[in-house]
Symmetry: C7
Subunit: 75 residues, 7 copies
């Protein structure tokens, strides 16, 4: 069988692509992921804050602290 895939492979393959980052409490950020680390700290460019799937405001560049991340999904 092939070598086992690891969760962070998804982050690596999503670099420089648009992702949605779900936060504790239910809000989401959508933006282009330009950096991440092993704590799941994530930097998004052209970031937007979403509430209930709708754009609430634009944020430009944003560093999201890994401790607040619930999920990351390439969009």
């Amino acid at each position: 069988m092939a070598e086992q895939r690891k969760p962070f492979d998804l982050l690596n393959s999503a670099l420089n692509n648009t992702v949605i980052v779900g936060l504790k409490g239910g809000k989401e950020f959508r933006g282009v992921m330009i950096a991440y680390d092993i704590h799941m700290n994530i930097v998004l460019e052209k970031a937007e804050l979403l509430e209930n799937g709708e754009v609430k405001k634009g944020l430009g560049t944003v560093l999201v602290r890994g401790d607040s991340v619930v999920y990351v999904s390439p969009s």
Copy 2:
């Protein structure tokens, strides 16, 4: 008696199968688990977000952070 089973054996045997991942706060993801690690970070493909057992939206591929996971159940 046989060798003792460990909780992560369940994750290993569920690889490439559909699982439900319950999150803090009560929401659930359902999808095909293609990767996990010792922190219980989990990658699902063909993922759907469920609320009260009903599909709320499709997410494609999603990385769920282990810190938010309450349970994992092969469906």
Copy 3:
């Protein structure tokens, strides 16, 4: 006096028996405990989700993350 008992002795003696696992937030799982580890990650077979003591749904096999566990009680 006899050797002191340790909390995990209870888990060991409850292996392959039905237990109730209480979760943060108040829900409970009931099922046959087939595995656990030092983080109190627990695998139940024939698991049911309980709310206010009533069966809400069946889950088959479920891995409960130790971080969400409040108590474990042989039933």
Copy 4:
């Protein structure tokens, strides 16, 4: 002055006696403490769940996870 007392001395001296264990969220367990460890994981026998000081249900033996414990009081 005498040797300084340590908090876990209280647990040791309360072994095999009835204690009340207060949990995050406000519920309490009352029972005979037969085991504890350095994480404050605690096993009670003849345990009862209390809400607002009233017995809600009997649980027999219960392992309470230290992470959920707020206080322990010999009753």
Copy 5:
């Protein structure tokens, strides 16, 4: 300048005196502190549970888990 004071000096000087211990969620214990450790686990004697500054009930001796402590104040 004099040697710098450390927060735990306050606990040491308050040993065997009455203190108020504020908890996450807003409740308070008041009692005579007879022991503490580096995790801020604290043992009170003649302890009372306070809600909104009023005595709710007497508890005798109580071990408060450091993880639930917000503040400690000699009264």
Copy 6:
């Protein structure tokens, strides 16, 4: 460029001055900071508890556990 400043420099320079300490949940303490450590445990003298910016009660000396601290601001 000058040597980089570190967050704890602010605590050091605020020693023996009045600070406001914001807590999880929204309450604040105001008092003279006489001690702190690397966990951000903080001792205030002449401490007052504030709710919505208004003095709720005086506390004399108080040890605030770092885990509950959200921010510290010299006033």
Copy 7:
């Protein structure tokens, strides 16, 4: 391909510039970031507390504890 960027690069490049720091619970601070560390403890000068995007009050200098930080965004 170029060397991979890391999340803390964003903090470094934002030093001495105005940033918005989002907190658990939804409040935000806006101010000039003059210091940070690996825990994401952050010092802001000319800091303002924002609620729903509106200035609630001025705080002068404030040390924000990393544990409470959800995101940091250069404004």
